[in-house]
Assembly symmetry: C2
Amino acid sequence: MVTKRLLKGLPEDADLRRADSLAREIFSDVANKWALLIIEALGERTLRFSELRGEVEGISHKMLTQNLRMLERNGLVDRKVHPTVPPRVEYTLTEPGRALRTAVDALCGWTHQHLAHIERARGRFDA
Amino acid sequence: MVTKRLLKGLPEDADLRRADSLAREIFSDVANKWALLIIEALGERTLRFSELRGEVEGISHKMLTQNLRMLERNGLVDRKVHPTVPPRVEYTLTEPGRALRTAVDALCGWTHQHLAHIERARGRFDA
DNA sequence: CTGCATCCGAATCGATACTG
DNA sequence: CAGTATCGATTCGGATGCAG
């Protein structure tokens, strides 16, 4: 299976070990709340920093810049700076970023589909 | 879109607001590295605590119990205790947990498919 | 407007020790 | 074997101030 190497590590080959640690690094970057919500917010659109901040409920200035830098570094978002005053910076998903959307959509969809079930499970557990 | 409410909050209706904050809570629980890797490790199998620890590369005893408790609380994993000595505790995905697997699989698959691209993007960015 | 730096409290995490 | 508790250390995250 394609996901195996994310789970049981320690391959013999040095190249495989490198690829594997890289995979886990990327997975850690991407599998976090804010990164995923930013991806979802961008979707097919191009948004400015301030617009993005309005779209992602509850994110702080700092977390937004931090995660945008990380996503840019990994080549998931494209950052375009317009040399105007005041500055205008636009963010757009790259091709890999858009590819990631299917996974994020699935996650968001799953969340909403199981709201009721989870709420009931919590009630039972907390008792 | 089904994911909208995860992004721009502040619905007028009180019930909608509650459902929305619950959704964000669940999303925060689930959208984290360890939770997703545990789901992926379990898959269709039933695993003991110690086996699980061996499958999820690099997870600590503490993180594993912590995340298992959280997943159990949300009704994503089933915890079965065998009253033997030494104790034997088995974990299995519930139906909602298995449903989540499609999203996790997509995420893991995406990671491996874009390894090379991301590595190159990083090289450019870090320069 | 965007982004960087800084401070500081809060949350996370790993390591260790201890119980049934 | 599985789980809990505790303790430092690191990281996270929000708030604020300053610069381009």
